[in-house]
Amino acid sequence: MNRSLLLIFCSWVLLLAAPAWAQEDPPPDEEPAPEEPAPEGEPAPAVDVVAPAPAEVVPAPPTVVRMADGGGDVVEVYRDEDGWKLLANGEPVYLYGMNWGYVPIGENYSYDFWAHDDEWIKRALAPEMELMQAMGINTIRQYYTTPPRWVTYIYETYGIWTMINHTMARYGFDIDGKWVPVVDYSDARTREVVKADVMKNFERFKDTKGMLFYLLGNENNYGLSWSSFEIEALPQGERDKARAVHLYTLYGELVDAIHAMDPNHPVSICNGDLQYIDLIAEHVPNLDIMGSNVYRGVSFGNLFDEVVAKLDIPVMFAEFGADAYNARDDKEDHLDQAWYLRGQWQEMYEHAYGNGKSGSALGGYIFQWSDGWWKTGQEYDLDIQNNSATWPNRAYPLDFVEGGNNMNEEWFGIAAKTPPNSAGIYEVQPRSAYYMLKEAFTLHPYEERATPETIERHFDRLKPIAFKAGYQADRAEKVLAEIQKAVIANIRADIGGYATSGSYVPGTGKEKIRFDHTESFYVDLKVTPTPNFRAEVGINVVANAAQNRIDEIFYEARAQPVAVVDAEGEERVTFFDRVQIHGASFQWDTKWFELEGYFRRGHGHWGDDGDFFGFYQEAQYGPNIDTYNANVPFGLEFHGKKFLEGLSIATGPQITWGANPTVIAKYGRTFGPFGFAVMHQEDITSLGATGATRVIPEYVGRKTSVYLTLKRGPAQVEFGGLMAGTERLGQSFVSVRRAPEGAASYKDSGYFVRNDKVAFTDTLGAKIKFRLSKGPINWWIQGAYKGVVADSGGDNTINFARWSLKESGRGNHVHGITGVLINVGKLSIGPAFMYQRPLEEAVPQIEAGVQDGVFWRGVNPRNRIADPFRVGDNRETIAFELLMGYDPTPATWMWQWDNDVREDAKFAVSMDFVYKIQPTATDSNIGWSATGDPLILGAGQPAANVWDLKFRLISAATNNLRIIGNVWGGQAQSSGPSERLANRAGVDWKIWYRKMGFEGFLKFGDFGPYDYHRDFNLTFPVQAMGDLWVGLSAPRLGMPWTRLGLRGQLRYLNQYSNRYERDPIDPDGWQNEWELGLYVQVGL
């Protein structure tokens, strides 16, 4: 510090007497010996790296080359007997420089970093500049195309100066509208144009805060011989000296012109090594700083002394360094790079001011900050980091092989580079050289303790290998992040063998046992090309599907053998659908919208966001889509942001099970306590029979709704209007009216029968709901009117609790529902009441007949296929429900869908009792045969009172033990016309202890597992199942899992069961069927 202050004082003194002290350059001697021009891109060839005899440095009195004047910074070259320094505003600046550029992977030299908006530039600059600042870099090399304001920004924000460079047509220039790839510096017009451009662009920086000094050219001496832009082996000697004279005279003119324009900043040139140094001495006499791109390996040899001897000016390296790729071993080697840079900086320190040698080293600009992926080829393979070396340099012996190249142009960065993110910003990963030089720069060459001995000791202890950890950790993290962009998220194999038998199986004893097996494999692939886009696809492959299972409908059954008759009439067995997309989805989150696509992956509903009439239904079908091999749901969901906020669109071939290809659009907003939404749904076409799986496609139609809501404290009221079913306007239907007592009715049926048509008023509906939540009381009430064809969707919302009583989504009814949930400590009590009545009641079955010479036409219940509406779940109902729950840990909600695994209470229990009075019948249902064919089930469901009582118990007894159980009983009605009610009861359980589990059920008089059992009123006197498994881990929701299990199932059959064959010997006896399976499920 003392020395610095002294220097500053001396500088000011000297400045005052500058003219008396200014030295003139000595006149040139005789014509220097011709030099061989150095090949482009390569340092002076065949330079022996032998410690030369130091050139004698003639000490000169301290001089100040530049005068302080003008605005902006004042930068000058200071000199005294100890050497040269660069002073910026009086402060010495040792050039810890960096060749910095911002070219993302995939771009090349034409990329314009500064063309982005300011916000983006600052975001991109910050990590780059901060890293360099932390390293100790205090100056960067930039081309004149950098806007001056950003030079100031970088200086003021990060303390980093900028050296401004004009390449002087090194790579071609536009001369009077014509592109000249290799300029001729002897041409007067060329000189005039180039000079004018240099002056025009440099003048923009003369008063720019943060600009350090001017740099002219870039190895222009190497460009005198070739028209190619590729770096090749340098030609021997200086064959183009004649052209070089013109180059250097132009340099000389420009240096003088720049001095005249801006006396406050020094001027340097960027020469290729020291080629033509004698011409420099002759023709650029007023050069302030000798700048060179030098690639002499670990040592600069006699460079400093030669410059002092011939030019008597300080030295600055515009480029120096080493690549980080070992061409001989064909692998990255950042340690070698660090080794070279260590040696180079040590010599620069030794030759810096006052350190005992030439004192001429002002510092230098490392080539380069980050790898340039565009260097090889320049127009192609921009997204590949090319490993090929493009020129040889024996000065880098660690990977030099005679006859081969070892300079890897795309690997010169002291930081590696990652692909840019969606904003075009990338990250860098500093290599070992960064960390090592950061440590090296803790010793400043100008500080007092920087003696030759300390410098040597300081650099000697810097071992590159000690600094590799940071880079390796960074790389590993980035590789991991890249790997995670595409991962196999889940692999699962389900393998099972099954033995089955039953009373109906022919044979005796062991002959009756059938055995088969199933192998099914799942692979889920997840890709994340950018952080805001994720996609996954799951594939299932079936190797074999058992054909003997008593539950005959299952996912893998699609791959069972099928007999076909070929073109020659020969019957043969084939297989379909062995490989299937099990599901796929994607999510794309941008600042303008969210877009989700789904195929056999569930989605939620919009019922809480203004979809008051349930247009967009919840589509979580659980295992049913696998059981019935349905390709649902399938569609897209869009939600707008920013100015599109409030807009949602859903569309797809089948967005819910049985939906036609459709588009649903919703727009809704809230303004304080008010909210509104409008929705419209337009079916595009019919799903068709081939697209529907065990469902009758809906009418191809349209729906429109409006919704208004007002919230005031604990209360909320919602109102909605609906128009739907207009596509059925004018369609005929049969309606009935009860005949008064004693009146003559249609064929004495008790009904009048009418022919009617769908009118406009039949397409209208309205609903109002009120909710109040105050303290322990939560009450809601709702009423609705829906015209006969005003179908919409069911209510997916949860009104305080998961009551079973829900409104029908169908039209043709009026209803009123109310429920209240009362929380008494940990106990919840929730009674509910519903009244529902169809506008047009079901049509009874009246047989055709002739009575007394008149013919009574038959009247059939309506059905979904032939009629514009029907009475189904919108039947006349008076229902009462009592819901109760005891949950000591309300944070895990008892009625949450995943409560089985989430519930954390030691004991939680719920009860749900529903009693329904159904005094009238329904119209016909559509049932499904075991083979999936639709059937009109004759008459509808008869009038019946039914009830259902369910208990659910869950206990997270300990951390290792979880018990989940359900007990139920009731009287249920078939979906078909059967009068018989099923008196059913049962229990199921899951007991998980550590990695073992026992699951099962016991049912009495209940329906079978499939929809056709309910359609055709098929029940079993007893059904039992037990599954004992042991896993590698406890089950976790959604996580892959490995377990081995033994599963047994037993059913008893009676006259109400399918596959029952009455035994004449024991006509009332039960029969049976059973299955025993051993399975393994492997999940990764």
Binding site: Y746, N755, F855, G858
Partner: protein, 187 residues
């Protein structure tokens, strides 16, 4: 707001008041009238009976129980439509024969428009001929239970209407004195 209300009112006007539903009454079989349609109705393989505007069974169809009720009512027009529907629902000789029989009755009782009677006669002959051509071996059963061969009944029907049975059919008398018809190819 005024404009909105006006628009809604206009919409309601345009939508119109819904039509009143019409009550469904039974069909008095004696009120059923035969009208000539295209000359093929009721004659296999024509299905034009389904489009006949005066067919009271066109939408409801006819079943195998009520067809006899209609037949026994004596209302020939109603019986014609009834049997024609049975024939379309599942063609067979009995249905075709009774269709022809009731066409004959319509002709003989002049239950059609005078200008259509001759056409009805032709239709009856064609209907009987359809029995011979398409259902030559079908039979029906008398009320007493014995079998009646439809080819003989059809043949006699054609002759009774003054027609000439086609297809080489010949009436013969068996040794037991019972009549029968055979096709000349059989001789």
């Amino acid at each position: 707001m005024n404009k909105l209300l006006l628009a809604l009112f206009a919409l309601l006007l345009v939508s119109g008041c819904p039509e009143e539903p019409t009550y469904v009454y039974p069909i008095d079989l004696n009120d059923v009238v035969y009208t000539y349609y295209d000359g093929t109705e009721g004659i296999f393989p024509s299905t034009s009976i389904l489009d006949h505007p005066d067919n009271p069974f066109a939408t409801s169809g006819m079943d195998n129980v009520n067809k006899w009720e209609v037949e026994s009512s004596g209302a020939a027009a109603a019986a014609f439509y009834s049997w024609a529907m049975i024939n379309v629902q599942g063609a067979h000789g009995e249905a075709q024969y009774y269709t022809a029989l009731n066409l004959q009755r319509i002709f003989q009782r002049e239950l059609a428009a005078p200008e259509d009677l001759y056409a009805v006669r032709t239709m009856a002959i064609d209907a009987y001929q359809a029995v011979l051509d398409n259902f030559p071996n079908d039979v029906t059963f008398a009320a007493e239970g014995f079998v009646l061969p439809l080819n003989l009944l059809a043949y006699d029907g054609i002759v009774a209407l003054g027609g000439n049975p086609q297809g080489g059919w010949v009436r013969i008398t068996g040794d037991n004195g019972n009549g029968a018809v055979v096709q000349s190819l059989d001789i």
